[in-house]
């Protein structure tokens, strides 16, 4: 019961900050999800006139035959096909004039590495004595992905992908930095404000003291995750996307981040116990969080750097699996919990041998 009373005491002492942050989380998550419709449209980055052209790709030995067909244009005498390596097609790599039919087969050899080259085709109708040109449309031989999709390797055009952006880009930093801040303060303030002597003169062990601090922040963080999940359900419902993702998947994707934050809580308390000074401890905690986030970014930006991913705790939070209803790796969850426990035990050993400063 002492642990509950300590948690209540800390909440009474810090409820304004805790409450305000919950409000921030509600507003951010609710507001972020409202941007989904506009975001989703932006991802429908179709090529101009692609609805007028159909492409069929057939493998043919050392390359592919791209079968193009397009809609007929009134008064067109013939058609010109422009071929380029990018949609801008500033300098076409090929040009075929005088096509009389509304279809054409274009042969493209494989690249040296055996892959199909990304090729763009533009069809222009030519008519009249002055050889007037009318753009018919543009298409490509590959499944197009947006630049962000290319970057993160996911389809962010659906609600799951969109929420993954929230988790990947905002959640870890936002919650991580705040959790680091309150974890450090929960211990450092007792040092700095000279409370430690009185608190530790009561019949509680140092282990219990640390457990109380850890439990308070961990409990608050779990509460935040659940609130975030619930707000997400309401917000996703309000943009008409709840049919595409289950409520439980939304809550689970948030709650699965909890073990990541347990590691941050444990590390921040270790920093506070070791350094005693809240500013120094907070600096160390923030550096840890930013380094973890940096590794995560680097590992995701390029496949050639993906080998660094295991070195960030964020990699063990599989929110995509949760959102898409795939199996959750309990090994990953367990791994994070083990790291948090190990850091906590190290902190405890350090604290038990420590002189309490005056």
């Amino acid at each position: 019961m002492k642990i509950v009373k300590t948690m209540m005491m800390e909440l009474k002492n810090s409820w304004r900050g805790y409450g305000l942050f919950i409000l921030v989380v509600i507003l951010l998550i609710g507001g972020f999800t409202q941007a989904f419709p506009a975001f989703s449209e932006a991802f429908e980055d179709e090529l101009d006139g692609s609805e007028n052209i159909e492409v069929d790709v057939v493998e043919d030995g050392g390359g592919v035959i791209v079968r193009l067909s397009w809609v007929e244009i009134d008064d067109a005498e013939n058609y010109t096909l422009l071929v380029g390596a990018s949609p801008q097609m500033i300098v076409p790599i090929d040009r075929v004039d005088g096509i009389q039919e509304m279809h054409y087969e274009y042969y493209t050899p494989y690249d040296e590495d055996g892959s199909m080259p990304e090729t763009y085709f533009a069809v222009v109708a030519v008519s009249g004595e002055e050889r007037e040109n009318e753009f018919v449309g543009m298409e490509t031989n590959i499944d197009r992905r947006s630049p962000l999709e290319e970057l993160w390797g996911m389809d962010y055009g659906d609600i799951q992908g969109f929420i993954s952006v929230l988790w990947d880009m905002w959640w870890f930093l936002l919650i991580g930095l705040y959790v680091g801040y309150i974890s450090v303060n929960s211990v450092s303030k007792d040092f700095e404000e000279d409370r430690m002597d009185i608190l530790l003169s009561k019949p509680i062990s140092r282990k219990q003291y640390l457990l109380e601090k850890f439990s308070l922040v961990a409990g608050y963080t779990l509460f935040l995750m659940i609130i975030a999940g619930l707000v997400l359900i309401g917000s996703v419902y309000s943009v008409g996307e709840l049919g595409n993702v289950t409520s439980s998947a939304l809550v689970l994707s948030a709650v699965l981040s909890w073990p990541v934050f347990l590691v941050i809580i444990a590390f921040s308390i270790l920093a506070a116990v070791y350094l005693e000074d809240s500013k120094k401890a907070m600096g160390l905690s923030f550096i840890f969080i930013l380094v973890e986030f940096g590794i995560h970014l680097v590992g995701d930006i390029s496949d050639s750097l993906k080998h660094v991913r295991p070195y960030t705790i964020i990699s063990y939070w599989d929110h995509e699996a949760a959102l898409y209803g795939e199996a959750i790796s309990l090994v990953d969850v367990g791994f994070l919990i083990v790291i948090a426990v190990v850091i906590f035990v190290v902190t405890l050993k350090l604290f038990e041998r420590k002189d309490i400063p005056t």
Binding site: K5, R195, D197, I198, L200
Partner: protein, 299 residues
């Protein structure tokens, strides 16, 4: 038969690197007594107290409280020991009542009667926020939290700092009542008058080493009396050549000395001369204290 000490310190040493906090300290505090712990700043009073409570890791030595090891059995000890630190803070944004109730619960006690009684006695407003209290009122909060769990042994580090003289008197009265109830109190202090008023025994520490442990009456007795005699004519110093007479100083017709024994013989000898004036002073604790500190302890 002598009672078993509540606090038994043997060979206690605390080093901060090369700096000596306390060195080879031996001390016993017995049940039902109020022991004063005197020393100037940096003498090692707070270090001793905090090492006893396990807030500092001792370098060497043993501390037993209620016969229990201060390190191994610290939780059991803290169930039975109240503590007022010399410097402390609490939660500025919370009401005193909330803080005290919480600290009481941490001691595993639900009875708030002593908390309320002592607060009333010290005129402490429980409904005020701790952060809005004056230094004296904050000290009262510290005192209340040290005593409110009604524990058998109380350790106080400079307990009256910030209290006004009237409140100090109330506190001394309260300490005497607690002693009457059988409580044991170990208190450090700079205020010699308060030690003289409430303590049964006093331990004086200097530069981390214990100088003397004595009951106050015996200590004064041992320190002797200051005798000043003004003669009508010149003084013959040889008349003071007696056991128990020290530090004889002659200044014209005035002789000053410390008499620790043989006072009767001294009076007889000087009465053979014409005396203009004479005074005999008992050493105050202040003077004793200064003597120990100037000389590094002679007793």
């Amino acid at each position: 038969m002598k009672k078993k000490p509540v606090l038994k310190i043997r060979n206690l040493t605390k080093l901060y690197g090369d700096i000596v906090g306390i060195k080879n300290l031996d001390l016993d505090v017995y049940p039902g007594e109020i022991m004063g712990f005197l020393g100037p700043n940096g003498a090692g009073k707070t270090t001793t107290i905090r090492a006893c409570l396990g807030l500092l890791q001792k370098t060497e030595g043993d501390v037993k409280i209620f016969g229990l090891d201060s390190h191994e059995d610290s939780i059991e000890i803290r169930k039975r020991t109240g503590y007022l630190p010399g410097d402390f803070g609490l939660y500025d944004d919370l009401k005193v009542k909330t803080i005290l109730k919480y600290l009481l619960s941490q001691s595993g006690v639900s009875d708030e009667s002593k908390m309320r009684e002592l607060s009333e006695r010290l005129e402490l407003d429980l409904d005020r926020k701790y952060g809005n209290l004056s230094k004296g009122n904050r000290q009262k909060v510290g005192i209340v939290q040290a005593f409110m769990a009604d524990q058998d042994f109380i350790i106080l580090d400079e307990p009256t700092g910030g209290l006004d003289p009237l409140m100090q008197q109330k506190f001394y009265q309260f300490l005497k009542e607690e002693k009457e109830k059988g409580k044991t109190i170990f208190m450090s202090s700079h205020i010699l008058a308060e030690v003289e008023e409430v303590c049964d025994r006093v331990a004086i520490i200097r530069k981390g080493k214990l100088q003397v442990v004595e009951d106050i009456g015996s200590l004064k007795e041992k320190m002797g009396k200051k005798l000043v005699v003004e003669f009508d004519d010149g003084v013959d110093p040889s008349m003071f050549d007696l056991d128990g007479v020290q530090d004889v100083q002659i200044d014209g017709r005035i002789a000053t000395m410390i008499v620790t024994s043989n006072l009767d013989e001294v009076i007889k000898r000087i009465s053979k001369n014409d005396i203009v004036n004479m005074s005999l002073e008992t050493f105050s604790l202040d003077q004793l204290f200064l003597t120990y500190y100037r000389e590094g302890g002679s007793g």
